[in-house]
Symmetry: C2
Subunit: 346 residues, 2 copies
Amino acid sequence: MESAIPLHLETQRSRHKRVPDDYQPPYPSFVARYKPAVSRVVMAYFGVQYRGAAPAAAMEALAEIGGRFAGECGPSHWDRAQYLDHTGHENVVSVAYWDDIARFDAWFEPGREAWTARQREGVGTFIEVLRPALARHETLFSSLGRPEGVAVIADGMSGEVQEHAYWGGMRDRIPLSQTDALAPGGAPELVRDGARLRVKAHDNLCLIRSGQDWSDTEASERKLYLDDVEPVLREGMDFLSDDGLGIGCYANRYMRVLAAEGSASEKSYGQSWWKSLAALERWAESHPTHVRIFGAAMKYLSTLGPSAKLRLYHEVTVAAADEQFFEYLNCHPKTGMLAAVETVGA
Amino acid sequence: MESAIPLHLETQRSRHKRVPDDYQPPYPSFVARYKPAVSRVVMAYFGVQYRGAAPAAAMEALAEIGGRFAGECGPSHWDRAQYLDHTGHENVVSVAYWDDIARFDAWFEPGREAWTARQREGVGTFIEVLRPALARHETLFSSLGRPEGVAVIADGMSGEVQEHAYWGGMRDRIPLSQTDALAPGGAPELVRDGARLRVKAHDNLCLIRSGQDWSDTEASERKLYLDDVEPVLREGMDFLSDDGLGIGCYANRYMRVLAAEGSASEKSYGQSWWKSLAALERWAESHPTHVRIFGAAMKYLSTLGPSAKLRLYHEVTVAAADEQFFEYLNCHPKTGMLAAVETVGA
């Protein structure tokens, strides 16, 4: 058993963990481990948005960003996912991960110009970037052997970690929580730059990407997941997308991961922006929509036991104000962090 | 909004609350407030145990303890409840509350002698007492107007308190949690005194009494409680009674409160002894049996909203080693804290 907090980020605590030192989690989980030289990771979401069938400009944009990712100083890993949002827009989001800030910075300026400074017929584009210090970031995986998201660029996975399977584990896995309450500071602001809309968010904004991979499940397990768990998960995701603002969820996307050739894979993830880690904790712990998700997942896992083939993971970041970037071009006003600010009139 | 921690027990924190200072609970709850002069309360459980119909000696014992309670230095309040335990024994438990240690001490020695030093035909008896400093104790009520348990001897009830409706609220309401992890120390030990068996427990043993009162519910609400919530609660209580030891629950009783004339009232409570507050937290937060209880209660309350007439309350104590007393005479070996020690052979 090891701590989710890497050794070199352990500090003298001024804030306690939520569980005693002899706490034993009831099942194993693992976290991504980076090379010690990695001090920061970058997670960059590049979205295209359109209505109905994909316009040519959308396909071109997707091909183009794929090409740029493959180019010099491109990300170590990227993936792509799609969802139909609650306003009826399709969104295809390409998520790229870097573990070298210098390479990201070299890549980003031209990448950004090409993405959100250029008008595309019938297509909106957006960029959402976090570049957190590792002390502001955590991951969790239910199994080994198939990293997803940021963990793909990690050096590898940990052994079994202690800080999971209890409410508060997410916070306890974030190294900075050893000394900091991770309280939010300020409110999001809209910054207009011609047609481009930027959102200046605030200190300790929180991002979660929480994924499901049912590609290894067979017969009865697959049916149990798709019939009993997924619909409950979808209902919770819909709540966050439609009505999350009142509980501190600025935006939520429940995405289907796309395979390399563009077809839907058997993987999904929810990605949401939160006012604070505390707001995310409160939803997860006590909101009826997530209590139902948790109940369905618990029932599923206790029915299947260690034989479960469903893979679950998440990555959570609590970003400092200067670790964030949000920019939108021709997107509807409920897109991502735009939902947190008033875009009309001003 | 006020803190559950009374003003005179607020101290400089070395341990943080689990929620930010601006946390707003989603619905109101209240705590018992004692007169400032009260530094300690006593909660004393006097049980009789038998098989089948109540023997004459059991009825005599119940009448006798009722008489003693009414006598000099008796408790400010007492109630009585009954349950059939998992070994098939009936147990009738009279619970008495004092807020004056001197009066309790004056009352207790003869009361104890009469209860556990005297053989009764076909009847076992037991005493379980905690006398915690107020800093080691908390209560919570879903509504005003009908205090139960220890709260009956309080000076009154608080206004709406902040520390509830999140996991960790129980700990945050205990004043000592401001500076202490409330970690358990040691293991329970059996002490034989002739036929009397005493259990010397350990520092920071935890007691919860968690009650339900459906006497005010009508028609559809009553049906919803009895059909959808109570069976799930019972299943969780049965788990703790039968299999709780592995997760740190030494003993659990799911009791039906008896009305003054001895018939069953429309009130119940679960009463359980735990190795630690942390063990109770882990069960409540993540064990499938309590997750189902929580889910059923959430569904019930969100269906009914503020019109719900069901009353819920609990009292929780984390007792120092010298604030505890457990004594059993002619009880089966799974009775109360006897379940935590080996009584055969030794």
